[in-house]
Symmetry: C2
Subunit: 427 residues, 2 copies
């Protein structure tokens, strides 16, 4: 029986993180927020999706969801033409000008696209990773909009990667069920934290089993060096230490600063410069052979990822689950990364991003990238208590989610408490 | 005496253009709209700025102006630190995530930045082009945010271009006063117009003195060929014929289609593919030596323009006055274009864009590019009647504006009539 979407509800949910310095980096100091979308259906099943925003402008992404919601109301999930559905949200001829395919309007589309996929997975009774991993190659390929990326990935190439991903599938799944998915933590080194807090968090992370940790850089370089030395001394020489500049540097500055930080053996440098600067990332990558350039959390869409891969600008692809327009666009990015041989380590943190991206990384391993080499899911120890089906991490690794859906359904009490501006937390 | 901004008013103004097919192209069919900003001051002088949006999402850019307006209220124009002012709007740590520097939030910043410059020019009693062209080099350089573009343009390079722009200034100004500024028209070939309308508009344009016209392409290729033949037959072999695909094509498709349209001698191909695709534009440019690749109206910010120039992807720079964050960011783009030897032909049309960009093109000729070779301002014959100081065109050329300010102040009656959703036009 067909399921039809009958209403699109949107909630402006915000957490007062700015004051505590949680999530603080060289460029962002916001109140972590979510544009939270619920799709009501005639079957009674609810689809949930969200887009993360870093602060006060969350009403704009909520407004964008409202502006796009007529495309979903009345939509039947049976025989859904995936590309037409995707384009109805990303290329609306009255709204596309506001992006196109970037920023507020695209992030809103991401929440909505993901809510539709959450609904589909729930109706199928499967967690999202399994829903995707067990899907026919043809159905996956038909979910991808190849517009503007056909010079980097053709439907035939996508088909071939996904078919090949069936080989060894059972072994990979068994491995994950036993060993969980590798991860790293970003909770040790926010810029807003004092040194003693960084030291104790680093020590605790090591004791908990983390062997990959990330610190923020991009303050005064002497401070970055001091903090890198401090963290490295706590986590030892065998733990991977990633650095994240959150785009603060110019191209030449990134090169010069990372040459000074080289002594702490950075595994990657994340967002060394402006997220739109494909050529800049490529130049930085060529200049810093001792580390890897990573980016993606603010890469606006598949066309930016396409170029980062074509230009050999990145060695780590950090796709975000809702900055781009949801599952459909993420699929195209995972496939391009696989074609170009670049590992995917999705961006997480924020609100609900860990819950989202664990599914993407697991699917990628099972069916697309088919390797764990260099693969890690970011983990940030924030705000998981607000989710019905939060991530579960043990010994620095993500356990496989088992509940149906995409894991971003929020608890009604949390929505009520943190709704802006009328929830008790904000009154 | 200091002038201080006391309030930021924003109006959601929309014109019902979608139904008539005016402004229709391969990808956009919107109701032309403006997020119209008025800055109230203690001196009584009002600063006006706007950002153009192509349709229904105009409430989002209006909302973004409201989210940013606290940065302007209370701001004194005396001794304004231009870079700090610019970054307060483009890099707000609670709002930057929504872009960054792109889409809704950046376009809103564009309207606000331009309103501040309009106010300054009005207080100085000069039209914007003259206000800029007569400004000291140091003040112009201090208006530019070099963040993320210092690998392509240094303050010293900017200084040198602007100082050199003083040579021959009087002669260039005298030339413009006598001969006006060259232009081309886009009013002949919107995709939504039937052939007989295209034919009669082409004929009329030629008779009015236009020797450069632009047509939309990106429909079925046989239709594009038929329309190109029709327009070329009306305007003769000596009129420049530009083509505009509005990003509809993939990279290989753009190359193949333009090879078929080559027989109509296209002067340029505008937006052949996705606006973010720097590498794609570069490949198209290499493949089509018989024409020029042009883009810019949807290029999100100075970092995209930097790369288009670095990659030799464009031979025509079509900066928009309010897609990027206003005068400050436009200055950096004009200077980069001059350094790379690429002529600037600003994007116009929409709502108030002709009014805006005439000032930019004139300033560029007087002080930056210092040549008219390959320079033309787009002209679209739409909606000028709503402006207090509309553009004046004769014989296919723009006359120099003389009234103080940036020419985008709208008539109060027009604002009232077309305010959405309560104006009489929308009730």
């Amino acid at each position: 029986m067909a399921t039809t979407i009958t209403a699109v509800d949107v909630h402006d949910v915000r957490f007062p993180t700015a004051e505590a310095g949680d999530g603080s980096d060289s460029i962002n100091r916001g109140d972590y927020s979510a544009t939270y979308v619920e799709l009501r259906t005639d079957s009674g099943v609810v689809g949930s999706g969200l887009t993360f925003t870093n602060g006060r402008g969350n009403e704009l992404t909520c407004g964008a969801v409202r502006a796009l919601s007529h495309h979903l109301v009345g939509l039947s999930l049976d025989d859904l033409d995936q590309v037409a559905f995707f384009r109805s949200l990303t290329a609306d001829p009255q709204l596309r000008w506001l992006g196109p395919e970037k920023g507020v309007i695209h992030m809103a589309a991401g929440a909505m696209v993901n809510a539709v996929w959450d609904l589909r997975a729930r109706l199928a009774g499967k967690p999202m990773w399994r829903f995707l991993a067990e899907m026919d190659t043809e159905e996956l390929v038909a979910s991808i909009d190849f517009h503007h990326i056909s010079d980097a990935l053709t439907p035939d190439e996508a088909r071939s990667i996904l078919d090949k991903g069936r080989d060894g599938y059972a072994e990979r799944l068994a491995f994950l069920e036993e060993h969980d998915f590798p991860s790293y933590t970003t909770s040790v080194g926010w810029l807003g934290y004092p040194d003693d807090k960084v030291r104790s968090l680093s020590r605790t992370a090591y004791e908990e089993g983390w062997r990959a940790v990330k610190m923020k850089v991009g303050g005064p370089i002497e401070d970055d060096i001091r903090r890198a030395r401090l963290i490295r001394s706590e986590v030892g020489p065998d733990t991977l230490l990633m650095m994240d500049a959150n785009q603060i540097w110019d191209v030449d500055e990134a090169i010069a600063n990372m040459q000074r930080l080289a002594e702490f053996d950075p595994y990657w440098i994340e967002e060394p410069t402006h997220a739109d600067d494909v050529l800049g990332h490529a130049r930085i990558a060529r200049a810093l052979p001792f580390t890897r350039v990573a980016t993606g959390e603010v890469a606006a869409n598949r066309v930016i990822f396409k170029q980062l891969l074509q230009a050999e600008a990145i060695r780590v692809c950090q796709v975000d689950a809702c900055r781009v327009a949801g599952v459909n666009e993420v699929l195209s990015i995972l496939l391009m990364a696989a074609k170009f041989g670049v590992p995917v380590c999705p961006h997480a943190g924020g609100v609900g991003l860990c819950e989202y991206v664990q599914h993407l990384a697991i699917f990628d391993y099972l069916r697309v990238g088919t390797s764990l080499d260099g693969r890690m899911v970011e983990y940030v120890d924030h705000l998981h208590e607000h989710f019905v089906d939060p991530v579960s991490v043990r010994n620095g690794r993500y356990r496989l989610p088992t509940a149906p859906g995409y894991s971003v359904a929020m608890k009604p009490a949390s929505i009520a408490e943190f709704s802006f501006p009328d929830g008790p937390a904000w009154r």
